[in-house]
Amino acid sequence: MGLKIDDASVVYPAADGRPPVAALQGIDLSIENDDFVVALGASGCGKSTLLNLVAGFLSPTSGQILLDGRPVQGPGADRSVVFQKHALLPWLNVMDNVAFGLKLQGVAGKARYEIAGKFITLLGLDGFQQSPVYKLSGGMQQRVGIARALTCDPKVLLMDEPLGALDALTREKAQELILNIWNETHKSVFFITHSVEEALFMGTKLIVMSPRPGRIAHRFDLPFSRRFLAGESARHVKASPEFIQLREEVLEIIFADEEAVE
């Protein structure tokens, strides 16, 4: 079962004298349970549009999106989103931000905080439970966002450049953290990034998208995250010859795409 995108297209209508934008065209993609799908591509090639489609914020111009065989009609608790920015609630402290989804689902106070506390620990935010979120660093805020998305035990986790704002070290740690969580919980993940290295390391499937019209230009199956989860160290995986070779290959594709567009 899982998630199935079937020949989906999105055309943003013409506005302010600009012609209509074919943001996505003929997207076919299936995300099985256990899949970690990473989307790479130049800015403006429709990655966020695809994520919004799956999240249910946007309906396709044509084609359909099926979750466990049922068409996606709108947003729902089975698909949690980690946003790039601006999605925390500054009037709540860290604990209440993480517990926000549970609160909306009517989970009672004590149970709610117990679950939220678990994910706060998991993301290394212990000691900050009562801090206002606007006083945290960007990386910590991002981790609050990830913790919040995990609390409701979604089937599909959608992440739009969740680690873009982090420094190199925190970013590598967060990658490992997300992989470990994914390994333990067996969720389907759809993950957008601009970093080729991150994409190769994290995913089990990689889609490389091209702009105008936005489409999936290349697909790869990736072995690296399984090697990491089998015990190999992250740096070792990223420094292996196979990894480097594929990284260069993917970079070449993306650069070629960029030039073809210009």
Binding site: A55, G56, F57, G74, P75, G76, A77, R79, S80, V81, F83, Q84, K85, H86, A87, L88, L89, P90, W91, F100, G101, K103, L104, Q105, P132, V133, Y134, R148, C152
Partner: protein
């Protein structure tokens, strides 16, 4: 010697227009580049002191007649006098109480109706379509212009007075609440929906809290309009109230009572504004922070 010149080069005077020059590094705990950041207490106290001094000077030197501008001392004396003996056979605190009750009564009513209506207007195009024309139509009209209508429709009793103040508070509060609905970031709203929230929950848990800073600001602006309208409201058949006191004193050319009444009104309004600012700092410390 050389130390001196270096000092003057490094210290840039914080003059009136310093905000137009390049900003200097801030102290820890402050944020660089926040517009209008800085302490104003001493400047404000100084400004008040200078105004008082000019006032005193003008009267003490006899440059203007006491009929036009009585001395500060005369105002204080008048205050003490009215405080002890009342005005037109009514105790001073009674005047204050009646006016405050009118303004705050109207204010509470206007908030109770205006804030929910404003939010509804922000949330629903249908409600906005219905209520936008009447509010925008009456909003710019000076209360004095429709005061006669109020009297014809509602008589000369308390109703028309409170209603007049209510109307002047209502528009800014409703429009502020309506604008506040747009404060929530779309990501915050999407996050709530992706947890399966209903529209009602999104409003309660995201849109309302995000709108709170603007609603509080609108309330501050609204009560200001309320005090502005007080004197107009008490023009009609009033026998009590600060506005009434000012008006009837002016008919007898008791300038010192007029000025004293004005200062008392300003002081009450200012105290309430300070209170609202304090509430704002307590309730929405995150205002503008995310």
């Amino acid at each position: 010697m050389s130390d001196d010149t270096r000092d003057t080069q490094h210290k840039r005077p914080g003059g009136l227009f310093s905000f137009l020059s390049k900003s200097r590094a801030t102290k820890p705990g402050e944020i660089y580049g926040v517009p209008g950041q800085g302490e104003t207490l001493w400047l404000s106290l100084g400004s008040i002191a200078v105004l008082l001094f000019v006032w005193w000077l003008v009267t003490a030197m006899g440059w203007v007649k006491p009929l036009f501008v009585p001395s500060p001392g005369a105002i204080v004396q008048k205050f003490v006098d009215v405080w002890q003996n009342g005005f037109t056979n009514t105790a001073f605190h009674q005047h204050i109480w009646v006016s405050t009750a009118r303004v705050f009564g109207a204010f509470v009513l206007a908030c109770a109706v205006g804030i929910p209506l404003g939010i509804a207007m922000g949330m629903s195009p249908a409600i906005r379509g219905i209520f936008d024309p009447p509010i925008e139509f009456y909003r710019p009209i000076p209360p004095l212009a429709y005061l006669p209508l109020m009297i014809i429709w509602f008589g000369i009793g308390e109703t028309s007075k409170v209603l007049l103040i209510f109307l002047s508070v209502f528009a800014p509060v409703a429009l502020g609440a309506r604008a506040g609905v747009r404060s929530a970031a779309i990501e915050q709203i999407h996050a709530a929906y992706s947890f399966g929230a209903s529209r009602w929950q999104v409003m309660l848990h995201v849109i309302l809290p995000a709108a709170l800073p603007e609603i509080l600001t609108a309330m501050r602006i609204g009560i200001g309009f309320g005090w502005t309208t007080l004197v107009a409201a008490e023009m009609v058949a009033a026998t009590e109230g600060l506005g009434y006191m000012v008006l009837s004193a002016s008919q007898f050319l008791q300038t010192s009572t007029v000025i004293m009444g004005i200062i008392v009104i300003a002081a009450i309004a200012y105290t309430f504004d300070l209170l609202m600012r304090w509430v704002e700092r307590r309730v929405v410390p995150w205002k503008g922070r995310m």
